[in-house]
């Protein structure tokens, strides 16, 4: 995976240059947001299960999807949905820490649409859940860190569309 630091170092190395000017400024900005990122990752990681419960409650729980014939019925499929939403939250948190989307492309989105369509999993409810997750996460971590998480949750949403 790439992260924002290596994605700045690698092109500099290609040219045999030190990190200077614009690239160094970008790195400075990243360092300055580091504490915000670490704090948010801590809050999210320590309350992941409750973030997921609340996300499901906000988006899917009271819809037809949890009834017989729906894609979150029976319990096995409900659990699979929780598992996938937890993956999304975890990888978005990684990407937020790294300030880089490449881990989402490599580890989450690559082949995901095909997997879901071959399993007959509808995409629209997942997107609803991810939208709800954005709200729940922002409530937990605050507006500034929430906006940062939105970037990566939106990246998953756009990748699923």
């Amino acid at each position: 995976m790439q992260d924002t630091i290596t994605s700045l170092i690698n092109p500099a190395d290609e040219k045999g240059q030190y990190l200077e000017g614009n690239r160094l400024d970008q790195l400075k900005k990243y360092f300055q947001t580091g504490n915000l990122r670490v704090k948010a990752a801590n809050q999210i990681g320590s309350s992941a299960a409750s973030i997921i419960s609340q996300t499901v409650e906000k988006s899917l729980l009271y819809g037809d999807i949890t009834l017989p014939g729906g894609n979150m019925y029976p319990t096995r499929r409900y659990a699979a949905c929780l598992r996938d939403l937890t993956y999304f939250l975890r990888y978005a948190t990684y990407a937020m820490l790294a300030a880089d989307t490449s881990i989402l492309d490599e580890r989450v989105l690559n082949g995901l649409n095909d997997t879901y369509s071959s399993l007959g999993v509808p995409i629209e409810p997942i997107i609803q859940a991810l939208q709800a997750m954005k709200e729940v996460v922002t409530q937990r971590v605050g507006t500034e860190a929430g906006q940062e998480m939105d970037v990566y949750l939106d990246h998953i949403i756009n990748g699923l569309k």
């Binding site: 630091i5 290596t6 170092i9 030190y18 990122r37 820490l97």
Partner: protein, 157 residues
């Protein structure tokens, strides 16, 4: 790879969010951000000086070596490589991780210099001289961050 990518990969391997010790590691890294940047900037600004003074120190201890053979082309090449190693150390300081040095400058390095018939023992000494000049230009905080990467470089030869 940076320290950030490293702890993420570690967590990902075991399917979990970052542990509190990993988060603390990143917190410490970010807190040193401005020192890391000033250290890297000083190494960049003083590369030539570090190489020039380092070479003088080196030749005073080891005069019979390719860079001191009177062949200016060889000298230029050796000093160019030394400058490159300073640059790689600066990347490591910024990344909080020795991977830039390992991936760019150490993997295959021994084979390369052996084939170029540059004695590794001489290079080890040359790198030690670079370190000593560089350490003198950095504050103690900056030196504490850059020193270990120079040490790793010296050990590798």
């Amino acid at each position: 790879m940076s320290i950030v990518a490293k702890v993420i990969a570690q967590s990902d391997m075991s399917d979990r969010f970052l542990s509190s010790s990993e988060l603390t590691q990143l917190q410490d890294f970010f807190n040193q951000g401005s020192v890391r940047i000033s250290a890297a900037q000083k190494l960049a600004a003083n590369e030539q000086k570090i190489v020039d003074q380092g070479s003088k120190q080196f030749w005073s201890q080891c005069s019979n070596t390719p860079s001191n053979s009177g062949d200016s082309q060889k000298t230029a090449l050796c000093q160019r490589d030394q400058g490159w190693y300073i640059r790689l150390v600066s990347y490591c300081v910024l990344a909080g991780n020795s991977k830039p040095l390992e991936d760019i400058g150490l993997d295959g390095m021994r084979d390369m210099y052996t084939s170029l018939q540059v004695p590794l023992a001489n290079l080890k000494l040359a790198m030690r001289c670079l370190k000593s000049v560089a350490m003198g230009l950095l504050t103690s905080e900056e030196a504490a961050l850059a020193g270990p990467y120079f040490d790793q470089l010296i050990r590798a030869f």
